[in-house]
């Protein structure tokens, strides 16, 4: 029974979104917009669930002085300081922006920036021609990498041309095939959930 109600709500919401797209009606559009707005509000409430989980796991570590409790304390302190400042002053306040800019933004840059090291080591490790498949990946990657830097042209003017060709013909075709396939899959998956074939909420 439970599952059936879920499926109904999923289907009703999805059908409303579909109607907005395919049927010309101001009333429908307004209703759909309203419901989308509800989605954003519900998502905001959902954040609280995650926060409770975080607080429970780390609160437990702190109160029982489990291994790593100090870091949990740091975590909770960061949470409280930012939440309180952000709520009291607002997130566009100068003090808050400064806090954000000195912590979140460099840390995001840092982690995002470590990716290149992983790309280099993953490339070095995996781009060995053990099979023909990896040879093809390697060859197209090498050509495009060389084409991305001015030196590539100096080695041979063929390199940037080859890269452009690879990009426009096989890459484009591959992307397209993948996109069409994945879209069919995603749509079918959506329909399956709407029909209640997938048990996505347990129960």
């Amino acid at each position: 029974m439970q599952r059936r109600y879920q499926t109904w709500i999923v289907a009703a919401t999805a059908i409303l979104m579909l109607c907005e797209q395919f049927v010309k009606s101001p009333g429908l559009a307004a209703a759909a917009k309203e419901v989308r707005n509800w989605g954003l509000i519900v998502a905001a409430f959902a954040l609280g669930l995650g926060t409770v989980n975080l607080t429970m796991i780390h609160g437990d570590k702190i109160s029982k002085k489990k291994e790593g409790w100090f870091n949990s304390l740091v975590l909770m302190a960061g949470l409280v300081v930012f939440a309180v400042t952000g709520i009291v002053l607002g997130t566009s306040h100068k003090t808050y922006s400064a806090m954000y800019d000195t912590t979140v933004s460099p840390m995001a840059t840092a982690l995002f920036g470590t990716l290149i090291f992983y790309i280099v080591s993953a490339g070095y490790r995996s781009f060995v021609i053990r099979r023909l498949e990896s040879g093809v990946i390697l060859a197209s990657a090498l050509i495009v990498m060389l084409a991305q830097i001015p030196v590539g042209r100096m080695i041979s003017p063929v390199i940037p041309d080859a890269a452009t060709w690879l990009q426009n013909i096989p890459n484009n075709a591959g992307q397209r095939g993948l996109v069409i396939g994945a879209a069919v899959g995603a749509v079918a998956n959506g329909l399956r959930v709407m029909l209640g074939l997938e048990r996505n909420f347990g129960g």
Partner: protein
């Protein structure tokens, strides 16, 4: 109230696909099950969980940072579907699962999936609240947290299935460094190559959407999958036919798609 004419083909596509799926589901329920080609990435899942069991180390699962309420939602849902399957295996083999979560809306759903996986394996009491961990809704805070967690918990298997963004390779490399056997899957084209290069097994693009039929082998899901295939076969034929016609300057298909396919 009237139909938006220039978008009509979108709706027609949906209805045809729906029809094909429905038809094939009836065929499958009637006992004529379609045969499904092998998908190595899915066959590898029990093996990976088994390896973690042998080593006595936990399994890590991530559905990426993808949300539900955009067009990548179905990928996240597919990831959640396999989360239930992996949880079921973990419960069966008595191996710890750690599911780290980034999106707040995905979080309660993840809890549901892991719980129901444990229930399906007949061990609902073995589920504990620290299995599904909400880390952060900030992409890189989540990535950093997942990387640290995987290293500290010494995970032996790492599943990354869902809508992945730049966190994909960060998590995959952390998994590699932890010595985990890795299964990756996403239909996000920017990130797919990283999984192909780093992971031991990959579900390429659409393969992730075939997963639930593949692992469950339930007739109606297999039927739906066969219906989904009809969609691709039709696209395939349409491209071939359309290109040939275009060559002879017959542009009916192109014009039709342009006019009604917005």
């Amino acid at each position: 109230m009237s139909l938006v004419a220039d978008r009509a083909l979108g709706l027609v596509t949906l209805l045809l696909l729906f029809g094909a799926m429905y038809w094939q589901m009836q065929v499958a329920k009637g006992g004529k099950l379609p045969t499904i080609r092998r998908i190595a990435g899915l066959d590898a899942i029990p093996e990976a969980v088994g390896r973690a069991t042998e080593l006595g180390r936990p399994v890590h699962y991530s559905t990426g940072i993808g949300a539900l309420d955009n067009e990548f939602g179905p990928q996240t849902l597919a990831g959640l579907g396999l989360l239930q399957y992996v949880s079921m295996l973990c419960a069966k083999y008595d191996t710890k699962i750690i599911n780290t979560v980034c999106n707040p809306v995905v979080f309660p759903l993840s809890q549901e999936m892991v719980k129901s996986g444990y229930t399906e394996a007949g061990r609902p009491d073995a589920y504990t609240d620290d299995m599904v961990r909400f880390l952060s809704s900030e992409q890189f805070a989540y990535a950093g947290g997942a990387m640290g967690t995987m290293q500290r918990e010494k995970v032996a298997a790492n599943f990354m299935i869902g809508a992945f963004y730049a966190e994909a390779l960060l998590i995959a490399e952390a998994g590699f460094q932890a010595g985990a056997i890795q299964v990756g899957s996403t239909a996000r084209m920017y990130q797919l190559p990283f999984f192909v290069i780093v992971c031991d097994y990959v579900l390429i693009g659409e393969e992730m959407f075939a997963a639930s039929a593949y692992v469950s082998r339930e007739p109606d899901k297999l039927g739906a999958l066969a219906g989904q295939d009809i969609g691709k076969v039709v696209s395939f034929l349409l491209i071939g036919l359309g290109a040939v016609l275009t060559t002879f300057k017959i542009n009916v298909i192109t014009d039709f798609l342009t006019k009604y396919g917005k």
